[in-house]
Structures are given as C-alpha cells and as structure tokens.
Symmetry: C2
Subunit: 111 residues, 2 copies
DNA sequence: CGTAAATTGTAACAAAACTACAATTAAAGT
DNA sequence: ACTTTAATTGTAGTTTTGTTACAATTTACG
C-alpha cells in the first residue's frame, strides 16, 4: 500500500484526471463509434455518462470511455451486447476499485 | 526503466489518456477561470489548445490543463502573467518529458 | 418467415463555443 | 496626476455540438 518512490508521483494528478470529462463527440472520435450508437447503448443502460444538471450535455470520464472501448472489443469478438455488457461489468468493478485505491495513494495535488 | 510489477499497468491506458481532451467550458469548471480569460491567455500565446480542423472548437488535453493550473498558481502568488508563463514553461518541459517516457513504458493498450 | 436485438435517420430544438469588435480595470513608472 | 502597458471583461451575432423523440431499417437466429 505504500507508494513512495512511485515514479508517477510527480506527474499524475488524479484530481485532475477525474475531472477530465469529454463530450459525446469526442467519445465518438476516440472509439470510432457513432454518437447515435453511443446514445443507444446508454438508453439500454449498459454504459453510463454524467449529466451535471438538468438539460445538460453528456460527459464521459476516463472509466466511462474505457468501458465503452471494452464493450466494443467484446462485441467485435462476437458477443451480444448484453453478454458483452455483463462481462465488462465485472472487469469494470476491478478497474473502478483499482482506480479508487490509486487515487487515494496519490494524496497531494502537487504537479 | 523497467516497469514490470508497476501496479498501474492494468489500469492506465495512456493511449486513451492522451485522447481525453476537454472543451473550454470544462477547463473553466476545473480551474475556476472564466472562459474569456482562458481565450485571452491563449491569444497571448502562453497556453495552448488543439484544434482538430478549421472552425473547430478548442480542445485541451491533460497537460494543457495542467499548465493552466500551474500558471494560475503562480499568478496567485503575485507573478505577472509573462513571468508565470516563463517559470511554468520550464516545469512543463519536465512534465512533458516525463509523460512521454511514461507513456512509452506502458506499451500495451490492455486494460 | 417471424421475432427480437441492434442500429440508424432525422427534424426541431437547446447548449456550448467561436470571432471580432470594444471597453474597462489594474499596475507601474515618471 | 497622467500616461502607458498589462490584464481582464462584455457582448452581439454566428457556428458547432449535442439533445430528445419520434420512427424506420437492418441483422441474427430459431
């Protein structure tokens, strides 16, 4: 649990990383998935985005996008959407937890 | 230089991180700096953003935002904009290099 | 073929961002 | 006090990006 001497310490600002949230157009650029499809997946409830207030636009953080990429991979491998979603769900639990722990192990927001 | 056993390996997708670019409104939210001011700093050339094509909107990546935060700190400490920019410039060289090296040390885009 | 899953189209509207003017305020020097 | 430069702000008019809510189409499979 002790992260001293971690070479990333002076570089990674997790507080910042957490707040780096991109719009749906950007997600589309990154993943190659059309925005329409991304919204559809979200309607189905298999992916998530944050909405600040009412009538605000969708925002996706690092892990939101990561999840989309993972689902895409599975689908390309031949899984159905629901099957892919289920598989990725478990994977995301691990990633979420790892991310949480990691963020806590970088206590100072020094650059 | 050997990064095996790095606890971040299964978590950090640097290819993704590099592409997580936020709009100016988001930068404003993150930093507390009004968009108008951010554009002004950019006009002056002391900060940067990426523009995909012509007539596209500004996008800021992790390091772009980091730089803005650093300049803000220096300005709050009493430096002039230009002085702050100069100081931060050197700091960013180090960060840029560290970031580059780090990205290379995470070779696979496995989650 | 029939059914459910998955994707796509789009009109009408709303939010976010842009430029290009100009004005205002703050700091520093003489 | 006045001038000059630095720094910030205001905003109108326009463009880009994103939204919802309808429906239609395509794909997979028994």
């Amino acid at each position: 649990m002790n992260e001293k001497d971690n070479p990333l310490l002076p570089l990674m600002d997790f507080e910042l990383l957490k707040r780096l949230v991109v719009g749906i157009g950007e997600v589309s650029e990154i993943t190659g998935i059309p925005t329409r499809k991304i919204r559809y997946w979200e309607e189905k409830g298999i992916i998530q985005s944050e909405k600040e207030g009412e009538g605000a636009t969708r925002r996706y953080n690092y892990l939101n996008v990561k999840k989309i990429l993972l689902i895409q991979e599975m689908v390309e491998e031949g899984f159905t959407l629901d099957a892919a979603a289920k598989k990725v769900e478990k994977r995301m639990e691990i990633l979420n937890e790892a991310f949480r722990k990691l963020a806590n192990s970088f206590p100072n927001e020094e650059s």
